[in-house]
């Protein structure tokens, strides 16, 4: 279980201060698919990076199963938005295998995992490709395979599909859901596409432009979710108006 208690983040930008996250309080249960939406610049990435341990928070605390986190760790693996998150000097297979090797997984187990996640992410035949030989979608699949193979407690995803075309995005959303249902990791998924959040999430956290939590919406729509299904558009309308009405802090 992930708990955020009164989390605040202030950036110092050559002399001036930017208060990005304000009194963020929420809890994410194990195995939950949790989405965060909000306008550009509201602090979604900062929030995710704080959970990842990459940013020092200025106030409050972040707990995993009651233990305070202070630095990055193998229990929280991040999939970034950037296509350049794969090690360019390693092949697809080596990229997936490398973190396993560092964490001391045996050669035999590593091969097994690599095979499993290559298959799961549809990367068969690309094992020996270098990242620069892959499409954007393939790169994100590899990054996801690398993260999944580590079997993290929490998967942090920062708009991982934002730079992909609509079709590829849809395919990857489906596959992510399938994998989530199979492995049940906790997923915290940042997006600013409303429909993506509705398709994926158990709960959706809406942030205001000022960096506060506006509300957290629960979604009980049946999976797989399609825009044409009952309740989808109603949810969409709610989220849309929440994101639009951002003038009053």
């Amino acid at each position: 279980m992930l708990q955020l208690e009164g989390v605040n983040k202030v950036f110092k930008n050559n002399g001036s201060f930017i208060h990005v996250l304000k009194d963020i309080d929420f809890t994410v249960n194990s195995g939950e698919f949790f989405c965060i939406v909000g306008p550009s610049g509201c602090g979604k990435t900062t929030l995710l990076r704080s959970i990842g341990g990459y940013e020092k928070i200025s106030g409050g605390q972040i707990l995993i199963d009651g233990k305070k986190i202070t630095e990055p760790g193998i229990d929280r693996v991040m999939v970034f938005q950037s296509f350049e998150q794969l090690f360019s000097w390693k092949t697809v297979k080596e990229n997936i295998e490398y973190p396993l090797k560092i964490t001391g997984v045996s050669k035999q187990k590593r091969n097994e995992y690599v095979r499993k996640y290559v298959k799961m992410m549809g990367l068969e035949g690309f094992e020996n490709y270098y990242p620069h030989q892959l499409s954007g979608g393939m790169k994100q699949r590899t990054a996801l395979a690398r993260a999944l193979a580590l079997n993290p407690e929490i998967l942090l995803m920062d708009e991982p599909f934002a730079n992909l075309d609509a079709q590829t995005r849809e395919v990857l959303q489906k596959e992510l859901l399938k994998i989530w249902q199979e492995l049940k990791p906790t997923i915290i998924f940042v997006t600013h596409a409303i429909d993506e959040a509705i398709i994926l999430a158990d709960r959706i956290l809406v942030m205001s432009k000022q960096g506060r939590i506006k509300t957290i919406i629960e979604s009980h729509l049946e999976r797989p979710r399609r825009p044409s299904m009952k309740g989808f558009s109603a949810m969409w309308d709610i989220l849309y108006s929440l994101l639009g009405s951002d003038d009053n802090p």
Binding site: E71, P72, G73, M78, Q85, F87, W89, P99, I102, Y130
Partner: protein, 265 residues
């Protein structure tokens, strides 16, 4: 064999090759035209004969190897020092400031200007030459490696932290490969600078204190005896070594690493 050949030989090299052949022809014709005294401007054929003679008798080979070993020692030592400084500069603001200050002081100083000091401190001999070589190589190499380290995407560093990488392993497995293009260009500059430093330093006191002396000393002596063909042959040896290293070392390494990985500066 075909694979090995394809590693270094590329069609793009053909124009370069043709140009060199034309240049040699022009040289030969000019020498025989009688415009210049052949004692001052020997034809290429004569130089090449001298070169071949030097190679076969081993004189030129010994001198070249002697200089090359000095260069190699200097390069390796500089590389280690530069890597260590750059690595510590990455984690400490203090080290970085000190490294920058040292760089501003020493980088503009030509190696040969330090030779008199080196001689006084380290005596006439290999140590002094080595010091000059290291001085000539270290600073440009440090600048390149530091720039390379700084250019490593923060994503890589954060991934390394997540995976629990630390210290020398972090340097070796993430930072170094990620900044390899800068590293290689630093090495290339270092290589060229090392040659200059060695030749210049050897010219001043190559064969002193019982050593065989390298190419620089050889050039100096052949000029002293007015054996222009032999002087040119020594120059030819330097050029040949340069080309061989470029084609068989740098090009091959680049093809096996940064180009294969789609990396460039």
């Amino acid at each position: 064999m075909k694979f090995v050949k394809s590693l270094w030989f590329k069609k793009e090299m053909l124009p370069k090759f043709i140009f060199i052949v034309l240049l040699v022809l022009l040289w030969e014709l000019t020498a025989w035209s009688g415009i210049f005294d052949q004692a001052l401007f020997p034809p290429f054929s004569k130089v090449f004969k001298e070169f071949a003679k030097g190679v076969i008798s081993g004189v030129l080979v010994v001198k070249t190897v002697y200089s090359l070993l000095l260069i190699l020692k200097g390069l390796v030592l500089s590389l280690i020092i530069a890597l260590l400084i750059a690595f510590f500069a990455l984690s400490s603001r203090w080290v970085e400031d000190i490294a920058d200050a040292l760089n501003s002081i020493f980088h503009p100083l030509p190696g040969i200007a330090l030779l008199p000091v080196a001689i006084l401190w380290f005596g006439i001999g290999e140590t002094s030459i080595l010091v000059i070589v290291i001085h000539s190589v270290l600073w440009p190499m440090l600048v390149n490696i530091k720039t390379g380290f700084k250019s490593v995407p923060s994503v890589y560093i954060e991934l390394g932290q997540t995976f629990g990488l630390k210290g020398i392993k972090f340097l070796w497995e993430i930072i170094l490969p990620a900044s390899l293009p800068y590293f290689l260009s630093g090495l290339k500059i270092g290589w060229a600078r090392a040659w200059r430093a060695v030749i210049a330093a050897e010219m001043v006191f190559g064969a002193a204190s019982g050593t065989a002396g390298g190419l620089g000393w050889h050039i100096y002596m052949t000029r002293y005896y007015f054996d222009m063909a032999a002087t040119f042959a020594a120059l030819l040896a330097i050029v040949m070594v340069g080309i061989i290293v470029e084609v068989f070392v740098f090009n091959v390494v680049e093809r096996l690493t940064v180009r294969k990985w789609g990396m460039s500066i």
